[in-house]
Amino acid sequence: MSGAGEPGAAPAVAVEVEGLTRRFGDFTAVDRVTFAARPGEIFGFLGPNGAGKTTTIKMLTALLRPTAGRGTVAGYDLVAGAEGIKRSIGYMSQLFSLYADLTVEENIGFFSGLYGVPRARRAARRDWVLQMAGLAEHRQRLTGELPLGWKQRLALGCAVLHEPPILFLDEPTSGVDPISRRSFWELIGGMAAGGTTVFVSTHYMEEAEYCHRLALMNRGRLVALDTPGALRGAMREPLLEVRTDRGAEAVEALRSVPGVVEAGLFGRAVHAAVRDPAAARAQIPGALAARGIQVLGIAEIEPSLEDVFISLVQAGGGVLDG
């Protein structure tokens, strides 16, 4: 998406941060992160545990002050404008805050009050949420009795009752069935098309696929930022699929072959990122045969988003454990 050629009065930037840094004692959780997100953009945050995603999002939602660097969210400064930021954002986590023993309508009423939706607007916003979430006929049902996919749509509706220009989602469709997931992302896509900027934090490539751009974080740093398509195309090393008679052992063996940057199992096959595909193709059968492993086939393949993710994490020094 170029984003160009769509004139309008909306601000050109929804979120921008520069050199954003957060230290906890000696530990630098977020290290000089710089990026900008446009209005209407679905912006994904990927990264292993401990990569700094959560800390970054806490700073963007004004729950945590940066140690260094600066930024604005919806035009408000991260430090001086904390109150303005809190009014401008919606937040939905996989552990929704919905009350199971309240009805659908009562939950909407509760969150309208919490988010300070003006009384005159409440009926209209309630009807909008009921319609958007497809729950108009179920408004009197207890929330705890609803299927997971419906709860997720209701939680989304409650998170945007106050019409925030910026929405934060934390693994929003984890565990939901694919049909509900698609209808959820359809709603998100509609909100983004209407100008809402959506931040999505996730481990799951299935969710990442729905984002316009993806920021990959590792060890507190932003290691890549681009569209899913461009990330797949720009993977550092070519990828070989190596089929053998013993996958797990082949991974171990391949990791010690020079020119193999990373190897992992995918089903029974091994995906190996290599520096030089021709050289690696020549070298691998012999190296595996020396360990008694037979190669059944080698082919160069298109990397998946997961392959890209792992390649970038490994290039950045691997996962920070502990």
């Binding site: 069935d177 696929e209 052992e249 992992g264």
Partner: protein, 334 residues
């Protein structure tokens, strides 16, 4: 982790009963026959029937509420079926759940690591529980550490491990006694892709040594990692086959279309007779049509008529999500 009682290491030797079956694989490791579990008025698992071959890596794939956990709990002998049965290496879980337990390891979603013991102490604790002979422990630990990459952390308290490392330690504890059958309930839930790769390595190492493994997951993209998968929905098997066969059997072709503007492009395609589905994925559409070559011109013409610019269009491998949706819709229509 709930698992087998003690004495597991003295359980059935590898290949026990191999002579019973006529097939080279020695007959199925698991035979599930109309397995059903009701909780009050709700039927969590509804007439599940399938079999898993020896040494097979079998996936139970479906969303939350599909019946994955209930099914695995019945296979593990910790939950009694309401009706139907499952046989593990010929032993009935309905009639004799205690006889089944020593054959298997079961890692539930909430496994019991001791947070105030170190990594190594946890492994030794489970080795004691499963009565793994002391002489065999060093080799097993070395192998588990090799794939889990937990070796450098052997002296760290389990409570201080990251989520992915805890999950790897839980799996290692379940595998310290080399079970015949391994049942894993959503082992990759909440685990980042790098730790997930290590988990799969541990699982595949077990498969390579002949263990039969059944894994549940809510993540459709993990389905491609299994030898065969049963797609579960509302307590029933929607379909069951190898991932490649399921993808081949999908009716129609998935086109990846980049167009601008994207959502109006999707709306223009939804009215087209040739288009079964059109979904926005990030910066492109997935458009399901009957035949890529025959239907592409109509797709392009409809987009141009709607004032959309087509940047690229290519046939894609259908994803397991496409397969799942196709089968849910088919089941709903029937």
């Amino acid at each position: 982790m709930t698992s087998a009682s003690g004495g597991a290491a003295a359980g059935a030797p590898r290949g026990a009963g191999a002579s019973a079956g006529a097939s080279p694989a020695g007959g199925p490791a698991i035979e599930v026959d109309r397995l059903t579990r009701r909780f009050g008025a709700r039927t969590a698992v509804d007439g599940l029937t399938f079999s898993v071959g020896r040494g097979e890596l079998f996936g139970l794939v479906g969303p939350d509420g599909a019946g994955k956990t209930t099914s695995l709990r019945m296979l593990a002998g910790v939950l009694r079926p309401t009706s139907g049965d499952a046989r593990l290496l010929g032993l009935s879980v309905a009639r004799d759940p205690e006889a089944v337990k020593p054959l298997l390891a079961y890692m539930s979603q909430r496994f019991g690591l001791y947070t105030d013991l170190t990594v190594l102490e946890n492994l030794h604790f489970y080795a004691d529980l499963y009565r793994v002979p002391r002489s065999e422990r060093p080799a097993r630990l070395e192998r588990l550490f090799q794939f889990s990459r937990l070796g450098p952390f052997r002296d760290r308290l389990a409570g201080q491990l990251s989520g992915g490392m805890k999950q790897k330690l839980g799996l290692s504890c379940a595998l310290i006694h080399q079970p015949e059958i391994l049942l894993l309930d959503e082992p990759t839930f909440g685990v980042d892709p790098v730790s997930r790769r290590d988990l799969w390595l541990i699982v595949h190492d077990m498969v390579a040594r002949g263990t039969t493994v059944v894994v549940s997951t809510a993540y459709m993209d993990e389905a491609e990692r299994f030898d065969r998968v049963a797609l579960l929905h509302a307590g029933r098997v929607l379909t069951l086959d190898s991932p490649a066969a399921l993808q081949r059997a999908l009716e129609g072709t998935v086109l990846g279309v980049r167009a601008e503007p994207l959502r109006p492009a999707r709306d223009a395609l939804l009215g087209l007779p040739a288009v079964r589905r059109a979904v926005v994925f990030g910066d492109r559409l997935h458009v399901v049509v009957g035949d890529a070559a025959a239907d592409l011109p109509a797709v392009q013409a409809a987009l141009q008529a709607a004032g959309c610019r087509v940047l690229s269009a290519e046939a894609l491998e259908p994803s397991m999500e496409d397969v799942f949706i196709e089968h849910v819709e088919r089941a709903g229509a029937a």
